[in-house]
Symmetry: C2
Subunit: 415 residues, 2 copies
Amino acid sequence: MQTPWEYRYAHRTQKMGSSVIRELLKLTEQPDIISFAGGLPAPEVFPVAEFREACNRVLDTLGAQALQYSTTEGYTPLREMIARHTARYGIHVNANNIAITSGSQQALDFIGRLFINRGDYIVVESPTYLGALQAWNAYGAQYISVPSDENGMIVDELEKALRIGPKFIYVLPNFQNPSGVTMSLERRQKLVEIADHYGVPIIEDDPYGQLRFEGDHLPSVAVLDSRYRHDNGSYTGNVIYMSTFSKLLAPGLRLAWVIAPEQVIRKIVMTKQAADLHTATFSQIVAHEVAKGGFLDEHVKVIRAVYKERRDVMLETMDEVFPREVRWTRPQGGMFLWGILPEHMDAAEVLKKAVEKKVAFVPGAPFHPTGGGQNTMRINFSYTKPEVIREGITRLGMLLREEVAKNARQKHLYD
Amino acid sequence: MQTPWEYRYAHRTQKMGSSVIRELLKLTEQPDIISFAGGLPAPEVFPVAEFREACNRVLDTLGAQALQYSTTEGYTPLREMIARHTARYGIHVNANNIAITSGSQQALDFIGRLFINRGDYIVVESPTYLGALQAWNAYGAQYISVPSDENGMIVDELEKALRIGPKFIYVLPNFQNPSGVTMSLERRQKLVEIADHYGVPIIEDDPYGQLRFEGDHLPSVAVLDSRYRHDNGSYTGNVIYMSTFSKLLAPGLRLAWVIAPEQVIRKIVMTKQAADLHTATFSQIVAHEVAKGGFLDEHVKVIRAVYKERRDVMLETMDEVFPREVRWTRPQGGMFLWGILPEHMDAAEVLKKAVEKKVAFVPGAPFHPTGGGQNTMRINFSYTKPEVIREGITRLGMLLREEVAKNARQKHLYD
């Protein structure tokens, strides 16, 4: 039965498709499947007992405040904690440079609302984060892809892209989702220089920066930029930096933050007033209560140890069972690695067969907004327990050996 | 110091102003002021002890789930509870007709995204809810105001408005924010008939419907419409109905819901995927844990009793101290009443003097998107304790007597 609603959607809904990843997740949610497709943190590391204690303390001492409406920019003690925390990594900002958002996805949406007019170009790494593309497609963004390698975005290709006149550059420098790759210090420096030269600002999305298992921490793009961009302790730089509690505490709280010059924060706050008034007061106060007093630093060490073990088991098993024609990244942190099949192989086709063998991953094509990447795949190592990783990667390896051999025979036939 | 950001805002940000109410609230947030300006629930009725118990039970039994990512449409047991609850009020829907949003403000924002193209007309009551105007201004909405009286929107004026070709009609039939007025049953029926005749759908915003202190519950517009609009138990009607836990449990959770035909819910879910993935899992599961087993029904009775006492004290004091030239509404529920000063008086000017006397309200003009209402004021009775209401209304009454007399003298001078 038809309703009057269906003739009344605004033109912007025509481009709106359901999330490719979400649809795939449905396929891979059968209980007997070993799924490397999701992007979920390990539930085993959620600090449930600490949350329980924090909820009790907050409701005993701040109950009425925690359940009431609150300010749009976010709970001030939480923003101050983020400012202190961020300063240790070299980003010197004050609480007025920080807005709390309902997850990083909301920060991406607000950036789209604030900056993207229909048809505007955005420079992205190729591959890049699918959630950002979803957020910005709704505003009619177009994309310029800059290729990346094992050191991140190939910055030498950036100047060509900037002369097209993009609105901003979007990068995920640490253990990128989807590729697991980290941008080298040299490239970060060059990125900041070129962006500054052309006057094009940068969005730095850093959900995983603290989840480094090995190697040295690299200064964030905002730090490289902000060295000479302060005004009485307030950040006035060329970079909007985003991070989240989803990977450090728990994604079910929907708590992330944006760091930007104050004038941008004011615009984000106005946007948020009209969009959802404020992020849940209770989530913010409880997260502050859990994180404060040094708990977060100790807890991050636990997460690093758990994820490192899982990554190690995954890489070891891949070394044993994957065919030598397949390549993959060896991330120094984060939650994902990236597989590259021989050219002309289609990862989406492989996924269909993988689901029959009860193992799943995400095909890489949707992470490439200007095409390509059909032979790539994103593999998550954070969610699944080590013994299950070994089993799942073994199944996937056997399938890949068959598929690679088949591909080689077919290729031979047409040679 | 200028940054590259400020030249890069999208055209849609030019119309974005900071919330008038929020700016006024800042003025009235001095600690010694008696403020009837806000729209806050009474913190004394927040069920803090029940929240504490619910948090403990949820973290003991569902800890990993409550802290993890979850589905965009919302926690299924919560949606099923809302469906059962709603059925008791005559709206027969299933969980697929319901999406959870991060507060009603987010539902209003999504409705704007889905349905409003720049320049589209929306029919509103005059006065109407400011949060809806803020949400829809961002999408370039224009408004057609239909006047209202003590029985709500004057539906006889609606046909003229519908022939202009609006995208939808927006109404708050119960104890409207800002006016406190309830639309009569006869007008609700006529609204549904006329809207159906012209094929124009209705948004019914009902945050206060259950906060009725006296008189009989009136069927919602969705019920009147939905009598003959079901398809195998799924709602397929002409009305999108919204309500919220903000006034029943606690606004700090940011939990509201939208009821609509399944095709509209699917579009809202797609919008929410790109906007913030999902509403906080923890808030949803804890709210369900608090509300279930009949607690919500008992708790609503407590809220009604507290708010009724406050309304009664306010009305009694107004009867005593307000000058007879001022009129005001006598709401049967909700959180607000509406004052009407003599014509040519300016409530914003009165507010400035009121703040000097340490009492505050919200001037009514911003609730009129097509102009007018300079002589009106919104007065909240839910937040302030009875003895403080008496003191504040007495101060306001003294000021109004002075101002009304001054106005009469000036008017006399120019007669």
